[in-house]
Symmetry: D2
Subunit: 437 residues, 4 copies
């Protein structure tokens, strides 16, 4: 998931400075809340090249403000530490060289404490700017700060999935978050949700993509027309119980269900169940951000690759939806009704809901689509480093829609385009079935 | 490039049996004509896992008829050799195990002579069937034989590009084909074609994909509507001279022009020019199927990856076309006007044409599109082994359109969907620029 | 470097229990002293599969006492934590499965604090045993405890070289140890030691290997005869200045100086100077456990592979010594005179000594020999897990002799056989030239 | 196995020119006899980077004479083909660049016919030299020609083992040689030879290595003293039947029997039996140069790695011999009594002999020793390209002694040092047990 250029976001009310300051603090504090139960050592873990240490997320999101806001708007800018631009730049080639991504876990210095001090110093300087800037300067800076906050929200989700990937490798199965008490009041297992309700949508010309003044990333533009045939989507994402039936029916051993590339991936990686499932003494468990818990068939399935999603859909006699189909459905749904990131709550898919009316298509798990992530008609990345890029990742990735239980609340919208390669499993990715009508 | 299920193809005239027999012989003979200048040893070469030995193409295309025609329609079928199903099956899992693809070059036995004998025996049996079958049997068999011939035509192109890839590794630069004399009459170098004419197309709802009785592969169906904005395509594919300007302008060193994945590929593979270009004593040459020849700026560029195509388009201030855009253009063009495979001719892009009116958008080089290869609405692969598949390759590949100088004449059509991964360079792949209007 | 079975070591004096307790405390405290300046995060770093995190060394050395002493001698043994045998076993197959070696750096739990608590608990229990055991029990336990202490001393050296390898990857060049003040009093650079004095040794039958009651590892036995021709060794190890001359003379580019395997290694790893040398603005620096310091030509060279050692020797018109040759020389040298590990001192080769009489052949750097590490005549590994092994590593490694500035004082002897593969560079390995007389 | 510098070899009798000519023809003809049953395509096969195509052996051995004899002694030397020095040089860096070793199988041109023509032309020129050279010139040339013939004999063995490795990958199990009729007269299976006789040797100072006027490679010099303890060797090499007992006793699953490196190798390569053993319908077969034949327990075991040899010896309560021990034994044995290469005979270990007195320690299979291949005291490689080298391979390889059924007759002697890495299995390598007395 990457970020990019921005349409200005006047999420402001009466006092735009106060409003932005409040939002700035909310976002920045949430990031730190996510690390509350982690030790300095936990924050150094890097499970694989694609995942970053907690500490790196903490620092990189601050470097973004230093590089793109402070450097431009502070009267007498001096870097906090001359090494940080090298250490905490992610992939902005036009800004300079970057510390190799697969070695982020080898940087015990700067220490976790150093990184928190860095965050505090940047916060102080950004907050200072917010009150000191002229009217015009503020308007310009506000745009980039808003982008920076959305950028940081994206990293909040990655921080969760990256530490989960690291803890999953530890035989002690550590928990990144405390288990919320409320969970103990969950009803008895309801079994897999019945595959009982499809919601139909009418074809024809639809418009998708972003336009208007609200914030959106550059890859959501420009809004354009697409032609769709009639289609229907299943009312709920696939559950653990449904996926278990696929496994028990030999789904992982039936070549005819799989994409050729997925079939090879499965063999090469010896995949025989979702990545965080564990069988202990004959019973299934799930490794979660709250540690190892019994697998409930009535919870929504998460952490599958697009290959597994494709094979499951074949097995179920359905197909994965197209990007535009999900966007059409999401545009009729209420983003606030979904399950989103709460550092004090359950950061794992809840029980499947029962309404099946697509009333809450947002949240819980990202829906894999069959659509390759590519440029919308008329898309042009923004100029300069900030325009690096959503565009440059437009190859060999698929679009995901809707947000997950690790997506910060308020961060998502129908036009939002997340993207990952088809073999990625460490995000909260799930399956929403579609079919032709 | 893969093949698949078929819409029946009554390309027949008055006498369908005679007609099919004639076509059968034409195709089968052309395959052998392609190997005319190769030694038994040349026919064993395998340059890389994705490329197959000539001998394997000769045998596999015969095995296709044995497996899918003879086995089904011969009264008392017996396999020619019980090992061949294992050795010459490509990827039909439902038919059985396959000899590992990356080891096809290690099979010196069966010998080249054995393989030609196998071809002759299969031909005799297929031709026997054509006269012996009942009316109904013939109609059924004709469908599959027609598919088998289109399948063999696809392998004709691969035979050319695979032996080229192998000979390219030999410092002696062997020629797979004799150089036609006519070529010596070519005019003096005209320099790169002026980038002077764009052809505009009107947007709105278009229909793409195949319908009707003529032959087409399953992945071309079903015909469906798409919405396109107005767009234009350049009148000619990019020339060597234009690409040379890109190189000289530092195109391979400018990160901002490249997809992130392409930028990494370029570094990992140390790519600094098209794969068959060679610099000898300061002058550029091209390795071709006719050996090493001086690079002419006025020839059409071939053998670039989609990454190079994307970067070139960025540099040129344009973009790669979408699949549907090229299909719309092709549907207004004459397939017969292009440059196609002639075993006795020049199997390399000719000089760029001068009309620039997209009158001959077919042939010469395949146009990379920016469109991922995926299922058309309503697409369902055929049942059985023959339905393996165009469908199972629908991930991580891009669509190419229009055919090349190694595509057999008559094999192409506007709806034809070729597909390769973005890093593939050993096909006759070129660049057709597009832009929004 | 591995450990193994032991000849009983009655290093005891009047009161063997008090003696062993004192030695136990000295060794255990030194290990912790080595980690004094490291943060919990530093202690998690793993630079490569062959190097372990500090924390792992701290825990593994304690596990050794738990597994081989407490479990056997405690009346009512219960494991400190049931996971630890899995997490902190190094390679004792007969004791059970092991956490994969290349993933030791992914275990942020148990935390550094947990590990120190583990050490304290084990210490308390071992010390309890020392006073509680019967006479006979003590004698038996003392043997294994003595082995455990030598084992821990080996890990002290590895702890130093492993954290050095990790810090070397950090662009901030952190220091693992404080720089001792005394160093500032070093004389001005004396230039490379003149290559001026060779010490001759007489050939004939010599005895090498260990016998007697003092402690030794099993691979040092049995003492046996070897026949040597006359030979001579250079009076001092090679200096930085001498190696610089090799570099400046094109040593890394002259194939004829290298073993074929070394020549390929050099190309594959892009080696053009010793691994911890850095060129900054035209001047040479060395990365040390005390951070980055200017390279002094009069210091003794360290951290070269056996390939570099072999090439240098060729260039110098000499050869690497044989194992037995160095042992003969060491047997005439005073082990106490060398430079050994002092957590408060300079853990890097001092200036080259000037006597050149091989009076202090011990310490400073390990001497690569040309001898493969293999079994002495009559060698048999001890029975049981503790006998795993020096023996099982007897392939594809070379013997090193004499100890280094990271070897604990008192740990070395003439018969000591250290061993590493020829490409290893992260130990304090140097070059002692030899020649035939 | 590599070759190198030579002690001059006046194997000559009355007429040295006639003698050398006869030997030249014998060796050169035997090489071609080995390829008699191979097709041009077979001769192109390269099973792995370490193995070369037959055709390359045919050409390389000729290039050796062109490069080191013709170029030096012909009055007006002109290269046969200017590309050949690049294509057919193996690893002589000082002579020039080399075609990459792992791509020898991709050179279908020059063709097999070209290569035989090259051989004929070189033969004509060398034979011309032999009669034309002056007395002094002849003496000098004879030395190098003699080396070239020994070099070619080494490649005869490799030609056999390399084509065997290639044919082993073909499911058709082709035969490189005709099966000799005599074999059908073999007695009924005698079961594994009883492990019944050890031959003792007295320790003390022995001399090993070559001296004198006969031909030897440079790595066999200089002759020097070694001290050995008393030892004994088993009277016969290990048989298939004995190794089968090791397998059935779980030898491949018992970590304690293996070197650590071997244990990992076994797991990584999934080794559970000797490389050319095949289990078909419950019965064991061996793939041989004569095709697939039933495994006889009373045949001598071949094609095991040093890791397997080491584990077997551990299991058998014995050990592998040291290089010097085998040389001492060989020096008392008759080289002519062994089984050596006969292109018209059985190129596979015969039945085990029954005398058990080490009368024929030569031939049949190479004995792995536990000794690393390293320089003898006083060894110096010869100057110039020909001195490239035995010396440069003196790392990470083990010495093998005695020759095999693929070693040309007359090519072996007690001092001969063959060497391969411990994981090599494609040579005719076997096990000779040793033990301390």
């Amino acid at each position: 998931m990457q970020h990019g250029q921005v349409k200005p976001a006047p999420e402001t009310a009466r006092d735009p400075r106060a409003h932005l300051l409040a939002r700035y603090r909310t976002v920045r504090e949430r990031t730190e809340a996510l690390a509350k139960h982690l030790t300095p050592e936990d924050m150094l873990l890097q499970a694989m090249p694609d995942a970053s240490p907690t500490r790196w997320h903490l620092a990189h999101t601050s470097w973004f403000f230093e590089e793109f806001v402070l450097q431009r708007f502070e009267g007498s800018f001096a870097p906090y530490d001359p090494h940080y631009a090298y250490l905490f730049n992610s992939y902005y080639n036009s800004v300079g060289e970057q510390w190799p991504r697969d070695r982020r876990g080898l940087l015990s210095r700067p220490s976790a404490a150093d990184v928190f001090a860095y965050r505090a110093a940047i916060d102080e300087r950004v907050e200072g700017l917010l009150s000191d800037l002229s009217e015009g300067g503020f308007a310009e800076a506000a745009e980039i700060i808003t982008l920076g906050l959305h950028h940081e929200e994206q990293h909040q989700e990655l921080l969760c999935t990256d530490i989960k990937a690291a803890f999953a490798l530890n035989p002690l199965a550590p928990a990144a978050f405390a288990m919320p008490e409320a969970l103990e009041e969950e009803p008895e297992d309801q079994g897999p949700a019945a595959n009982d309700r499809w919601v139909s949508f009418e074809g024809g010309i639809h418009a998708i993509g972003h336009e208007g003044e609200d914030f959106a990333f550059d890859n959501e533009t420009k809004r354009h027309k697409v032609y769709l045939d009639d289609f229907s989507l299943h009312g709920t994402p696939v559950t653990n119980g449904q996926f278990l039936a696929f496994i028990e029916d030999g789904g992982y051993r039936a070549a005819s269900l799989w994409l050729a590339e997925g079939w090879d991936w499965r063999a090469r990686e010896a995949v025989v169940h979702p990545v965080y499932w564990r069988k202990v003494d004959g019973a299934w468990f799930e490794f979660t951000l709250h540690g190892l818990i019994p697998l409930r068939p009535d919870r929504i399935l998460s952490h599958v690759s697009a290959y597994e999603a494709f094979a499951f859909a074949e097995w179920a006699g359905a197909r994965l939806p197209r990007e535009a189909e999900v966007e059409v459905a999401l545009s009729k749904s209420d983003p606030a009704a979904g399950q989103f990131l709460d550092p004090a709550g359950f950061v794992h898919p809840h029980l499947v809901g029962r309404d099946n009316g697509l009333g809450s298509a947002f949240g819980t798990v990202w829906d894999w689509t069959q659509s390759a992530y590519s440029a919308y008609p008329g898309f042009r990345p923004a100029a300069g480093a900030i325009g690096e890029y959503n565009g440059k990742f437009m190859s060999s990735q698929l679009v995901l829609k809707g947000g997950s239980c690790a997506t910060p609340p308020g961060h998502i919208r129908a036009t939002y385009r997340n993207f990952f390669p088809p073999d990625a499993r460490w995000q909260f990715t799930g399956i929403r079935l579609a079919r032709d009508v």
